[in-house]
C-alpha cells in the first residue's frame, strides 16, 4: 500500500502523455479561418511550434484537476449540480459572476398572485446534444422526476409541473416558497426521450459540453456540445482528472494540468507558469452542537439523541467567544479564508450584527461562571454539579482541513476549562454519532433553503440537516415568514432576523449559539498563466465544479 501514491505519480504523466498524444491534429477542431481571428491561439498542449513555422490544426485541450467527481453519476434529478453549474445540462435560470439571477433556458417567468404557480417561458431554439429539440415537456418531466426521486435536490414543495404548450411550463407548488427560484437556477434539464436507467453515466443535455468518456476514479473527458445555444466554448476538449490532492499538485508542478485545486495549506506555494487564484466562497466550516440534553431518546434508526454538556447554553456561547477565528484562518487556512459567525456570511441575507468579538477568553469565562460552571476539583476542567465540561467533537477522518480545525479549536477552549475529545470517523459512523456529539460540518449554498433546513424545528433529525435537534419557536416563525415571503428581496429581512433579531432571538452566538461557526474558506486554485478563467463568482460548498460556471468564457491568452 505504501507504494500507491508513488505509483499514481508515475502513472499520471503516462496517462497524460498518451492523452495528449491521441489528440494532436484533431479532425473535430474547426479550421482556423472559421474562428474569430484575434483570439485564435495555438494549443495549450502543443507547446512546441514557434513563430515562422506553419502550425498544424490546433487542438485545444484543457486539463483540469479540480476534483468533484460525482460517483453516483451526472443525473440532475438525483442531485448532480445541486450547487449550480451542471456543465452537461442547462438550467432555466443561472447566477452570473455577481450572483445576479439571469435567464438561461428561460426567456422570462411570472409568479401567480397566490405565489403557488410559477409560469416559465423557455427558448424554442434549444437542442439537446443528440440533436432533438428541448421543449416544455422535457422541463416538466425533469421537475416531476426530481420530485419523485426525492434525491439531494429538494423539490418537496413541488406539487406538479405541467407543460402548457411547446415553450411554456407551469410549476405548481404545494405552498408558497420564496426560495423556489433557486431550483430554477440549479436543476439541469434532462431529455424525456433519453432518460432512463443509466442516464447518470451517459448524460445527454443542452449544456455547453457533452460527456465523451468517464473512467471512474480516474478521469472524465468532455467535448463541446455542437448544438449548444450559448457562446461556443473555446476548448475542443476538457479532461477532468480525479487525483488525490498531492498527486494533482505534483501534476501541476510538472506542467501537466492547466487548473488544479489545492488545499488551502498549499496556497502559499509557487508553481512555475501558474498563478494562484483564491476564490471567495460561502463554503463554511463550523461545529454543530447537540441542542437537547440526553434523555435516553433515539432516532428512528436507533441513534442516540442529545448531549448534556452541549445542551448548556453557557458552554456553547463560551466556546463561540473563546475561539480565535482569525488565528484559524491564518494558521490552518494559510490566510485563504475569513472568520465565520453564521451559516451564510457575506451574502445578501447575512445579518452582520450577528458577528461577535471573539478570541475573548475573559468573556467566555464570565459566561461559564454565570452559567454555574466551576473547577471544584482543580483538574483544569469545569464542573456543574455532577457534570464535567467534557464532550466529543467528531470530524470526518478523510478531511485534513477539518481535522486541523478540530485540533486547533480543542486547544483554544482548553484554557477556559472545556475539554474537547476528538474523534475522526467515516461519514457512515458520523451518521450514528451526529445527534449526540458535536460534529465539524461544512455547508454553504446560494440557496437560503439551507439555512431553513439547518435551523427549523421541522427538520430535526431529518437527514444531515438539523442533526442537533435545535428548536426555537420564534426562530421557526422568522424562517417560516422568510420562506412564505412573496419575493427573495422581501424574505431577506426575515432571514436576517432568524440569525439575530436584535431583540434577543436568533440562532447565532448572541441568541441560542446553536453552532460555533468557524471559517469561510477561499477555494484555492493554481491556474496556468496562459488561461483566463474570467470573473469568478462567490463559490458555494465544493461539490461539483463551481469554477466551471463560466467555462464558455474561458480563453487561452498565450501566443
Amino acid at each position: 500500500m505504501r507504494k500507491s501514491p508513488l505509483k499514481a505519480l508515475v502513472v499520471l504523466p503516462i496517462i497524460l502523455f498518451s492523452l495528449s498524444a491521441c489528440q494532436s491534429p484533431s479532425p473535430s477542431a474547426p479550421p482556423p479561418a472559421e474562428t474569430h481571428a484575434p483570439s485564435q491561439t495555438p494549443s495549450p498542449t502543443a507547446q512546441m511550434p514557434s513563430a515562422g513555422y506553419p502550425q498544424e490544426t490546433p487542438s485545444r485541450t484543457l486539463t483540469l484537476a479540480i476534483g468533484g467527481e460525482s460517483s453516483e453519476g451526472y443525473d440532475p434529478t438525483l442531485g448532480w449540480g445541486r450547487y449550480g453549474s451542471p456543465l452537461f445540462q442547462s438550467t432555466l435560470l443561472r447566477r452570473n459572476a455577481d450572483l445576479k439571477i439571469v435567464n438561461d433556458l428561460a426567456i422570462n417567468y411570472t409568479v401567480s398572485e397566490d405565489r403557488l404557480v410559477w409560469t416559465v417561458d423557455i427558448r424554442s431554439d434549444v437542442k439537446f446534444s443528440d440533436g432533438r429539440p428541448l421543449t416544455a415537456r422535457d422541463v416538466a418531466f425533469t421537475y416531476n422526476q426530481a420530485a419523485k426521486s426525492a434525491g439531494l435536490t429538494d423539490l418537496s414543495m413541488l406539487d406538479q409541473a405541467i407543460a402548457v404548450d411547446e415553450d411554456t411550463v407551469e410549476l405548481r407548488l404545494k405552498q408558497p416558497t420564496s426560495t423556489f427560484v433557486n431550483r430554477l437556477i440549479t436543476l439541469g434539464i434532462v431529455p424525456e426521450h433519453a432518460y432512463g436507467e443509466g442516464y447518470g453515466r451517459n448524460p445527454i443535455g443542452s449544456g455547453p459540453y457533452q460527456l465523451v468518456q468517464w473512467d471512474e476514479g480516474q478521469q472524465l473527458i468532455v467535448e463541446p456540445n455542437p448544438h449548444y445555444y450559448g457562446e461556443k466554448p473555446q476548448f475542443d476538449r476538457v479532461v477532468f482528472l480525479f487525483t488525490s490532492e498531492d498527486a494533482g499538485f505534483a501534476a501541476a508542478k510538472a506542467g501537466q494540468v492547466h487548473v488544479v485545486s489545492v488545499p488551502q495549506a498549499l496556497g502559499k506555494q509557487t508553481l512555475e507558469g501558474m498563478r494562484v487564484l483564491p476564490v471567495p466562497s460561502i463554503d463554511n466550516r463550523g461545529i454543530m452542537f447537540p441542542f437537547v440534553p440526553d434523555m435516553g431518546e433515539k432516532t428512528e434508526k436507533g441513534y442516540p439523541i442529545g448531549n448534556n454538556v452541549t445542551a448548556d447554553l453557557a458552554i456553547r456561547r463560551a466556546i463561540n467567544y473563546a475561539i480565535d477565528r482569525q488565528a484559524l484562518v491564518e494558521g490552518v487556512l494559510e490566510g485563504f479564508g475569513a472568520p465565520a459567525y453564521g451559516p451564510a456570511d457575506y451574502v445578501p441575507w447575512w445579518e452582520p450584527e450577528s458577528a461577535i468579538r471573539d478570541n475573548d477568553p475573559r468573556t467566555a469565562q464570565r459566561i461559564l461562571r454565570e452559567g454555574g460552571w466551576q473547577d471544584t476539583d482543580g483538574d483544569g476542567v469545569l464542573e456543574k454539579g455532577d457534570l464535567e465540561a467534557r464532550f466529543t467533537l467528531v470530524y470526518p477522518a478523510s478531511d485534513s482541513t477539518r481535522q486541523s480545525l478540530a485540533l486547533a479549536v480543542a486547544d483554544m477552549v482548553r484554557p477556559i476549562g472545556i475539554q474537547i475529545e476528538l474523534r475522526g470517523a467515516s461519514w457512515d459512523e458520523i451518521e450514528t454519532l451526529m445527534h449526540s456529539n458535536a460534529v465539524l460540518f461544512g455547508w454553504g449554498s446560494h440557496d437560503q433553503t439551507e439555512m431553513y433546513n439547518l435551523y427549523h424545528s421541522s427538520m430535526r433529525g431529518k437527514g444531515w440537516y438539523n442533526t442537533g435537534f435545535y428548536a426555537n419557536e420564534q426562530v421557526d416563525n422568522y424562517l417560516d415568514l422568510a420562506m412564505g415571503a412573496p419575493t427573495e428581496e422581501e424574505a431577506l429581512v426575515y432571514w436576517r432576523a432568524a440569525q439575530w433579531d436584535k431583540k434577543g432571538v436568533g440562532f447565532t452566538t448572541k441568541g441560542d449559539a446553536a453552532w460555533a461557526w468557524l471559517v469561510n474558506l477561499q477555494h484555492v486554485y493554481f491556474v496556468s498563466d496562459c488561461l483566463d478563467v474570467g470573473k469568478q463568482q462567490i463559490q458555494p460548498h465544493g461539490h461539483g465544479w463551481p469554477i466551471t460556471f463560466n467555462i464558455t468564457e474561458w480563453r487561452w491568452i498565450c501566443q
Partner: protein, 292 residues
Amino acid sequence: MNLEVSRSSTLWCRVGLARQKVFDRRRQTLFLIVFCVLCLGVILAGSAQAAVANQTNLSQRNQAPSWAHPFGTDWLGRDMLLRTWSGLSLSLRVGFLAALFSSLIGLVIGLTAATLGGAVDAFFSWWIDVFLSLPHMVVLILLAFVSGGGLNGVVISVALTHWPSLARVIRAEVYQVRSADYVQLSAKLGRSPSWIARHHILPHLWPQFLVGLILLFPHAILHEAGITFIGIGLSPHQPAIGIILAESMRHLSTGYWWLAVLPGMALLVMVKLFDILGENVRALLDPRTAQE
C-alpha cells in the same frame, strides 16, 4: 514483508558470524540490556507525551529541524520529535501486545496439532496453510474492520494473522521431541498426551517461543504502521507512526522533507534493532551457535 525480513535476518546473521570476535556473547548481552532500557524509556516517556504531542502552535508552523525542534514542526506547529516519540511508543505497545498474543496462539496451536496428531493435526495444518496463502495485508484489513476498528482492532488483527509460521515451527519441533526415546518411554509408561506435552515437550519449546516472539515484534510494528498508514483503526489525529507517515505524504511535494524522513528513520531503526535482538537471542539459544 515476511520474506524480506527473514532474508535480511540471515544476512545480519552472516555479518554477525563474520564479526564473531567483535560481537561475542558478553557484548551481545550488554547490547541487549542497553536496548531494553532504551525501549522501556521510549514506551514510558512516549505514552506520557501523547497529550503534549498533539498540542498545536499555530505561530510555529512548518519549521525545519532546529535545536528547539530537532525533528521540525508540522503544519499545525506540533513538535515532530514529540509526535514521533509518542507514535513509536504506541507502535511498541501495539507491537508487544500483538506479538505476545500471536505467539501464544502459535504455541498452543503448534503444540495441540503435534501432540494430538491425526485429524486434529490435519485440521490445524490446513488452517496454517490457509493463513499463509492469504495475502497478509488483505486479511489484516478485513480483521481490523470486523473487530470494530480502533486500537483493539489493530491489536486483534495483527495478533490473529502472525501466528502461522511460529505454529509451524513449533509443530515441527514437537514432532522431533516426540520421537525421542524418553518421550516414547513415558508414553509406554501410561502418561497421557497432555501430561507429556506439559512435562516433556513444553520445556523444549521455550527457546523457539522466545525467539519467535521477538522476531514477530518488528513484523507487528510494521503492520501496525501499515494499517494505520492506510487509515484503518485509529483517528487521524492520534500520533501513530503510520498515521504520521501517511499525513506527511501530502506535504512531500511542498518540500517539508522532515515530516516523513525523520519519523520514517526512527521506525526503521526501531524495527531493525528488534530484528538484530531476535537474531542474537536465537544465536545464543541455539546449541550450534551458542559457543561462537
